[in-house]
């Protein structure tokens, strides 16, 4: 125990003397999480919280157009722009503005769109009236050119297009239903409120789709946002960058032969290795705590929501220790496997980037292809971020993440043993 403690003290003295390195170890990942949270704020808000400017050219001026316009205007997601400089938007102007990239989405309601819907409703009403022996409404042939047109900025993502399309479809459906019910009620002279203000949304409010909580546990759970994803994700990424100082440190000690000195002291090597692992795991855990503190208290100062730690914040810390151990052991492994800093540094940095990319740090692993999702499980970062997500997004507890912690600890321990074996072999092979 004294040998381990002596090693921790020695490592602390060495780290304290490298103030620049110490600052970089904490400040660079902190800067990274703030920048990434800010940069990815908009893409994460996407279709949840963002308010898009939507161009609308109404050539119809009928009830269909009215339904769509009022629906869009009531929505929190859209700011409807139907005129510019006091002039109503035209089809051509709308397309021009979208082509310039000034707006993301535009809707054109063609002339006669309402009439087309009325005609379609009449057709339906007539088919019912025919069976009941009632008088028919006047109709004409169905035209297929009066549909509502949507235009998108070419850089818009498919999911964005799809969500706008779904929203619009809903308003068109409401409008059609309204008109159809009016036709039917007029046909049967039924006592249905067919006034222009009749709200079929209210009538059908018990039917359809409504999002519900999964249970009490999720009552306070956070919807994923930029902070909830980026703070833990880039904190883990930053923690794994400890690979570089650890590997560099090990190679330097090997080059200056102080490792050989340790090797010559009876039974010291394993305690020194343990001391190093404990020390760097502590440093890495402090990094984790520091970065989560940034998420809790600094991130709100730059206009983003504060990080939510879930129902079991101390379990988050437990995961942090597991990740710190895995990251430290990985650094130890890289330092043991490579002979020179020129070999270890690029490998350490690039492999961390690769492990983070496949591990769901850059984008949530759920959006990766099925094959990449399977591959992602080899990355300790995947296990780390999954465990954190289970705690801070799903309000999970230790039962949800114990397997993740065991895998992180096993990953670290296996690498550590390989490193000790490699170091022992290094001398006997004369390297």
């Amino acid at each position: 125990m004294k040998k381990i403690f002596a090693t921790i003290i020695k490592e602390w003295i060495l780290m304290r003397r490298d103030v620049g390195g110490l600052m970089l170890l904490f400040l660079m990942p902190a800067l990274l999480i703030v920048v990434m949270a800010l940069v990815q704020d908009a893409p994460f808000k996407d279709y949840q919280e963002l308010r898009f400017e939507l161009l609308l050219a109404d050539n119809d001026h009928g009830s269909l157009a009215e339904e769509i316009t009022s629906g869009l205007k009531q929505s929190k997601n859209f700011k409807v722009i139907d005129s510019l400089d006091g002039k109503p938007l035209t089809d051509a102007k709308l397309q021009e503005l979208l082509a310039d990239g000034q707006y993301r989405v535009g809707i054109v309601i063609p002339k006669g769109a309402t009439a087309e819907v009325v005609n379609a409703a009449n057709h339906i009403a007539n088919s019912i009236a025919g069976k009941l022996g009632m008088a028919a409404f006047p109709t004409r042939d169905i035209r297929d050119t009066s549909y509502v047109r949507m235009y998108f900025d070419p850089v818009s993502k498919p999911t964005f297009r799809m969500s706008i399309s779904f929203a619009l479809d809903k308003y068109v459906t409401y409008s059609c239903s309204n008109i159809l019910v009016k036709r039917l009620s007029r046909m049967g002279k039924m006592d249905v409120d067919t006034s222009e203000t009749a709200d079929f949304k209210k009538i059908f409010q018990g039917i359809g789709i409504h999002e519900e909580q999964l249970g009490n546990r999720f009552a306070s759970a956070k919807l994923i946002n930029s902070v909830q994803h980026n703070v833990p994700a880039w904190a883990i990424f930053g923690m794994f960058f400890i690979v570089i100082p650890i590997a560099g440190h090990m190679i330097r000690e090997r080059d200056e032969r102080s490792t050989m000195r340790i090797e010559l002291i009876p039974q010291a090597y394993r305690f020194v290795a343990m001391g190093k692992i404990i020390f760097f795991t502590l440093v890495c855990t402090l990094q984790f705590i520091f970065m989560f503190c940034i998420g809790l208290w600094f991130i709100p100062l730059v206009g983003l929501p504060a990080l939510y730690l879930g129902a079991h914040p101390f379990t988050v810390l437990l995961v942090g220790i597991g990740i710190a151990y895995a990251a430290t052991a990985y650094g130890y492994f890289v330092g043991a496997m490579f002979k020179t800093a020129n070999q270890a540094m690029p490998f350490g940095a690039i492999s961390t980037v690769i492990l983070s990319a496949i591990g769901g740090i850059w984008v949530p692993a759920d959006v990766l292809s099925p094959m990449m999702q399977k591959i992602s499980f080899i990355s300790p970062l995947r296990w780390g971020i999954d465990a954190i997500n289970a705690l801070i997004l799903r309000n999970g507890d230790i039962n949800d993440i114990w397997l993740h912690i065991i895998i992180l600890l096993s990953f670290g321990t296996v690498l550590w043993f390989i490193s000790i074996y490699k170091n022992a072999r290094r001398y006997s092979s004369g390297q």
Binding site: A6, E256, R257, S258, P266, Q267, A268
Partner: protein, 248 residues
């Protein structure tokens, strides 16, 4: 007769090397003597030392230190020997004191013992005024002396020195040699490698010349000079047995 070191038919071939590092080396060194292990570059001196302290395993043959096998009794052997490696095996960003405290702790020594022993060695090797400076800022001679102190903190029975005076000035070399003479007089065994023949003549009771991984000859410096034709000093003997060809 009790031997500090007994080596029999030791062979070692490093992967990728073009010649064996040790090719059946045999030698023995008595306790409480100082022996110079001399040989040109690539003769196998460092490999021999690395096997003795258990850092390298031989391909065949046996190596014993104080009667214990070097491959199986590493822990005991390492507690009985102090190795002064050719390179400065210290933490350059720590001060000498910090290095000694750390190394002493790893040997399981308590704070008082470390302080007492380190202070004594610092005084004797002229580093007491510089002990609070970082080793990386030391001159070559100071680093060599600090390297010796770190190897002697646990008061080993035998000290193995691999070229301890390489690249140091005359003053430091004289101080190191005087220290080693004094250390020998205290009854310790010394195994010493060097390219400086006059050093070996000064401090060694016996020298062993090795070349190409094999034993060549051994004896006291005086005997070797006297028994070798046309040799007036140990360097002549060395060249007589190892030749003038370069060992690049």
């Amino acid at each position: 007769m009790s031997y500090a070191i007994e080596i029999k038919e030791l062979k070692k071939f490093y992967k990728g090397a073009w010649a064996p590092a040790l090719d059946g080396l045999s030698l023995s060194i008595q306790k409480n003597t100082s022996v110079g292990l001399l040989g040109p570059n690539g003769a196998g001196k460092s490999t021999c030392i690395n096997i003795l302290c258990g850092l390298v395993s031989p391909d065949s043959g046996t190596a014993k230190v104080f009667g214990r096998d070097c491959t199986t009794d590493k822990i005991y052997i390492r507690s009985q020997i102090g190795v002064v490696p050719q390179q400065i095996a210290l933490f350059s960003n720590l001060t000498a004191w910090e290095n000694f405290r750390y190394i002493g702790r790893l040997y399981g020594l308590d704070e008082n013992t470390i302080n007492k022993r380190a202070q004594n060695l610092l005084d004797r090797l002229g580093l007491d005024k510089h002990a609070d400076k970082r080793v990386g800022r030391y001159s070559g001679g100071m680093k060599r002396r600090a390297n010796i102190i770190a190897s002697l903190l646990h008061e080993p029975e035998m000290v193995i020195l691999d070229e301890p005076t390489a690249g140091v000035d005359v003053q430091s070399r004289t101080l190191i040699l005087d220290f080693l003479k004094e250390y020998k007089q205290q009854g310790h065994t010394i195994l010493y490698t060097s390219h400086y023949m006059e050093e070996a003549e000064q401090i060694c009771d016996e020298v062993v010349i090795v070349d190409e991984g094999k034993f060549v000859i051994s004896g006291s410096p005086r005997e070797l000079v006297a028994n070798t034709v046309d040799c007036k000093k140990l360097e002549d003997v060395f060249l007589h047995y190892t030749g003038h060809s370069l060992r690049d």
